[in-house]
Point group: C2
């Protein structure tokens, strides 16, 4: 059992829970919780190693046995180490260090999501979860958006990371991808056309801007059209994750 906070595995896990730079350099990220680690197994995701402690549930112990039988390195650690590594108040007793891999963007996509300057990790994770549920084919993250592999984003994503191609790109690359697939680029913006009166069946990329300032200049330059969700009440705006989710499912509705 690992009990030292200086153990190399513990040090690596702690570093990976921190800044994006650490994840990029190590080519790995951390995911915790029984259900998410189960989803990593189901998705055949690459494991580096797994840590657990004696608080792990019976279902979690079955998972540990299954990981071992697949040849994945699994080590028990002390409860105090597990607590120190858990970002939540209620650690689930299992934590996986996974390979930082990217699923490929399909050729000729017809539904991409571009998340521009989303800073709140909960909002970013929720948008990834919705994109997965709405069948978006890939999510492109321009500079200044929060790292999709930060712990809170991974947790809110609820497994989206295993099914959805998520790519950090420059605006030049995003423009190339959009042009080569002949996508209309729709920017969600308060003054835009009603989403209910816009044809969203054509191949498109949807741009959702940040919580505070909205979309950036490069996003505005790339966009062909602006669309909005007509409001009924007194509120001035919606939460960014909510607005993006309503628009993604409007695309699904129109394409049925």
């Amino acid at each position: 059992m690992i009990t030292s906070s200086q153990n190399p595995k513990i040090k690596l896990a702690r570093a990976l829970l921190g800044r994006p730079k650490e994840r990029l350099e190590a080519g790995a990220f951390v995911m915790d919780g029984v259900r998410l680690v189960e989803e990593a197994v189901i998705s055949n995701w690459g494991f580096v190693f797994v840590l657990y402690d004696d608080s792990l549930s019976e279902r979690g112990m079955v998972l540990v046995e299954s990981l071992k039988s697949r040849g994945i390195e699994v080590e028990m650690i002390s409860s105090s180490l597990m607590t120190s590594l858990s970002g939540t108040g209620t650690p689930q007793g299992i934590l996986a260090v996974l390979e930082l891999a990217q699923l490929p963007i399909p050729n000729l996509p017809n539904f991409l999501l571009i998340l521009d300057q989303i800073r709140d990790p909960g909002n970013l994770g929720t948008l990834l979860r919705t994109a997965d549920a709405a069948g978006a084919q890939a999510v492109l993250l321009p500079p200044e958006t929060t790292d999709a592999f930060a712990p809170k984003v991974v947790r809110a994503g609820m497994g989206a990371h295993f099914r959805l191609p998520i790519h950090s790109k420059t605006w030049e690359e995003i423009e190339q991808i959009s042009k080569s697939a002949n996508l209309q680029v729709f920017l969600a913006d308060m003054g835009g056309l009603s989403c209910w009166e816009t044809d969203l069946r054509q191949p498109l990329a949807l741009v959702i801007g940040g919580e505070a300032q909205g979309a950036s200049q490069p996003a505005r330059k790339l966009a062909n059209k602006q669309i909005s969700i007509p409001m009924e009440g007194g509120a001035e705006s919606l939460n960014a994750a909510v607005a993006g989710s309503i628009l993604m499912f409007e695309i699904v509705r129109q394409r049925k």
Copy 2:
């Protein structure tokens, strides 16, 4: 300037940031931030008192002067006290203690929202914000849902609390309200009919269940029909605030 943590105003504010019981007993709640306090003024909401510190912006100081000219009690406090009262890492330098009042539920409503067992304060606040934007006429909170006047809910609500009737009710009261207004009660549930193929123009109440277990037994008993959002991708479910928001704006769309 108040500098003592034992000052009665500081003690009251701290208590109101805690448990629902404290808010009920005092008939008051706390809201912080320049923009939200401005909205309280615009809404003619009842103030108990306001605290600020020397970090307050120019816009905030204009607000303080306007509060004073309305005869509202305003006191400066030390920065360390303000930081200790702020739930966020970045206090905005102003905090209002407001009356815990309820706007009335309109007679014969045709769009109510029932939030059942929503535990996460961010999700509850986001649902209130969306309900406000979607023109829901009131939100009913059965037992076991998080208190709508908890600090994180108020913050995520972005002013919805000043415009939207928000009422904690027993299931018997909720049933009475639904029956007397002749509302169809739709429960958001994975196995339900597609929301896009359900007529949502009739007078209705929409029930959104909690993040973990979904809707409760009384909610299932009350509901006439179950509706769902058809999924496209690999995800099993949506975030509760996202699912509720998509359904609320589907109601708005159909009623246009």
